[in-house]
């Protein structure tokens, strides 16, 4: 029998098994990350859980009571409106800006990069109080529009980073020029070529913004309070009334965030096509 040629570059077929230490480390990490979530889930279905290691019994009663809460639907709706509106405004603001800065105004990119870190540097409470003072006139004062504006600023880095990285990954100048030489105007260039090619960045940005805003508490509470009650406000309110109901609100909130993620990722995989390409520099 002929011997198989020893191919250059082929790796020895060896499965690397994690060592004892690695397993321990991974286990600790998972425990640390999952414990609060799992506990919340269990607490939301526990009848009583303060005298024993495991709950004394299980029930879905708290979910029923949570759903029957008078503000349940309206706060959920408000949170959706706020998150969706923020994602939309962010997209409309960020995508053309990033495109513009990368193609026509390259010198402004460092400035934009710094601007996009600022929301991380300003404490949310400070931002909220400053906005309340500046926009203290009707109809802006205490309105949902002020809130949307504020969370757009607050969540901007989450949209900017992924979109900017995606734009950097494609050869935006040449693609733009190719479109122009084929007779496309700026809207056609953006909609037909640039946006489809940075879809991955747009989707992950939208996902991050959606989940951040859906769980946003400080700005909402300080800027609009009870005038535009969102789900996190209801949740916090119930931590003082009934811990079990608050836990079931948390679980509902988690579930919505996860469903939204799956939905956005699914939508992305539908629209996206294989995109390894030479024009990516």
């Amino acid at each position: 029998m002929r011997k198989k040629p020893n191919l250059i570059g082929s790796l020895p077929n060896k499965k690397s098994r994690p060592t004892g230490w690695q397993i321990l480390l991974i286990a600790f990490f998972l425990f640390y990350m999952l414990l609060p979530i799992v506990s919340t889930y269990v607490f939301s279905v526990a009848t009583r859980w303060d005298r024993t290691i495991l709950p004394e019994g299980y029930t879905l009663e708290f979910y029923q009571r949570a759903i029957q809460t008078s503000y349940f639907t309206i706060t959920l709706r408000n949170s959706f409106i706020l998150s969706m509106a923020t994602v939309l405004v962010s997209l409309i603001l960020i995508v053309p800006t990033v495109y513009w800065v990368h193609t026509r105004l390259v010198g402004a990119k460092p400035l934009l990069d710094v601007l996009m870190i600022l929301p991380f540097g300003i404490p949310t409470v400070v931002l909220a109080l400053a906005l309340v003072q500046v926009y203290n006139f009707p109809p802006i004062a205490r309105s949902p529009f002020l809130l949307i504006g504020a969370v757009v600023v607050y969540s901007m880095p989450f949209m900017y980073r992924p979109v900017s990285n995606a734009v950097q990954a494609i050869n935006i100048h040449t693609l733009t020029e190719a479109c122009q030489s084929l007779g496309a105007n700026v809207f056609q260039i953006l909609s037909k070529v640039i946006i489809p090619n940075i879809m991955s960045g747009i989707l992950s940005g939208s996902l991050l913004v959606f989940s951040t805003v859906f769980a946003e508490y400080t700005l909402t509470s300080l800027l609009v309070g009870a005038r535009f009650k969102t789900f996190p406000l209801l949740l916090v309110e119930y931590t003082r009334i009934n811990g079990n109901i608050a836990a079931s609100f948390s679980v509902i909130s988690f579930t919505i965030a996860w469903l939204a993620s799956i939905l956005i990722l699914w939508a992305g995989s539908q629209g996206q096509r294989p995109s390894k390409n030479v024009t990516r520099s």
Binding site: I170, N171, T174, L175, E177, A178, C179, Q180, S181, L182, G183, A184, N185, Q188, K192, V193, P196, N197, Q272, R273, P274, S275, K276, N277, V278, T279, R280, S281
Partner: protein, 354 residues
């Protein structure tokens, strides 16, 4: 009659002049190459024709239209880029149809036209594939098909073959020329590869430091370079520096050369004599031929190039390269003493002023 006309075109980037007073007329249906080293302004000039760069001064006319300030998407000029620039999110068919869709052409016409250009570049079977599933050469053919699909007035090619393998480059440049002649489309081709420029162009525009050095047919450029830059940039040329010492002689150090075309020069004037390596014959002994120059020398290097072998010869301290055809000459060896001979009409004399 000029079809594409550039008049007094200048361009500088932050005080560095990239293109200076560029004047050129390009005839309808011809293929003109811009040739020069990197940074000579050839690509900038092409981009000004395409509309991607604004002119500092001057005008560009296409047919009867002045297009100096027309935006690129309304110039009717097709472009092929070095980086292919196919749209990664679209199939080959969609890529080619893009320009026609922008023009809002009827569906059937798009279908028909896409098939036509796919036939032209001989890649019918790739229509449903995505760009990343094609080789570099195939991608560039599709890019060419995409530019041609809209039937532009002028086709611009910006170093289209630079990113490809040597073999693919030669095949594809032949294809480009074939398609260009078939369609008789006015084409401007930018390259830094002199062989590419000479082999496919009707006219070559040699550029250096932002100015046109010489315009001519490939033969003119090669056989009668106007400056030392052209002579040395296009092909190889031996350079003998010396002074005019008679009505047909130039003395270079201790070598006396008989040359043609000395009428324009005065005795004592500093000149350089240029001799192409292929004009030099290499012999093992001194043969007396009427008027021919004969210089003895020692072989210092032998480089095999396939069809020819290039010898580096030390002739009295002057380095001379000469090409010999394998099989036509006796075998040579290093340090061998040989005679280099070349006729007076194989020499070109230029004044040393540059």
């Amino acid at each position: 009659m000029a079809y594409l006309e550039l008049k007094n075109v200048s361009k500088s980037f932050s005080n560095v002049t990239v293109v200076q007073d560029f004047n050129l007329e390009i005839e309808k249906g011809s293929l003109v190459s811009f040739l020069g080293p990197s940074g000579c302004g050839k690509t900038t000039t092409l981009r000004m024709i395409a509309g991607f760069e604004k002119l500092d001064s001057g005008t560009i006319k296409l047919g009867d239209r002045e297009i100096t300030t027309v935006p690129p998407n309304r110039r009717d000029i097709g472009m092929v880029f070095q980086a292919y620039a196919l749209f990664p999110n679209m199939t080959v068919r969609e890529n080619i149809a893009f320009g026609l869709r922008m023009k809002k052409a009827p569906k059937q016409e798009i279908e028909k036209r896409v098939n036509e250009v796919l036939d032209m570049v001989r890649l019918q079977d790739t229509a449903k594939r995505f760009p990343h599933q094609l080789s570099g050469g195939q991608q560039q053919r599709i890019a060419l098909a995409r530019a041609l699909a809209v039937q532009p007035c002028v086709l611009l090619l910006d170093e289209p073959l630079s990113a490809l393998d040597a073999e693919v480059r030669v095949v594809l440049r032949g294809e480009i020329r074939r398609i260009q002649s078939e369609l008789a489309i006015t084409t401007v081709y930018v390259t830094h590869d002199q062989e590419e420029a000479l082999s496919i162009s009707d006219k070559v525009v040699v550029m250096n430091k932002g100015i046109i050095v010489q315009v001519g047919t490939p033969e003119e450029i090669y056989r009668a370079p106007k400056t030392r830059f052209v002579a040395t940039f296009i092909g190889t040329a031996n350079q003998f520096y010396g002074e005019v010492s008679g009505k047909d002689t130039v003395t270079c150090k201790n070598i006396k050369l008989s040359v043609d075309g000395l009428k324009e020069f005065n005795e004592g004037q500093q000149v350089v004599v240029l001799v192409r390596p292929e004009n030099i014959q290499v012999q093992s002994e001194h043969h007396n031929r009427r008027n021919w120059n004969a210089i003895p020398g020692t072989i210092e290097t032998i480089t095999f190039h396939g069809a020819v072998t290039r010898l580096g010869v030390n002739a009295n301290g002057q380095r001379v390269v000469a090409d010999i055809t394998v099989g036509n000459t006796q075998p040579v060896s290093l340090n061998q003493t040989i005679w280099l001979s070349f006729p007076p009409d194989g020499c070109q004399v230029m004044a040393v002023t540059e």
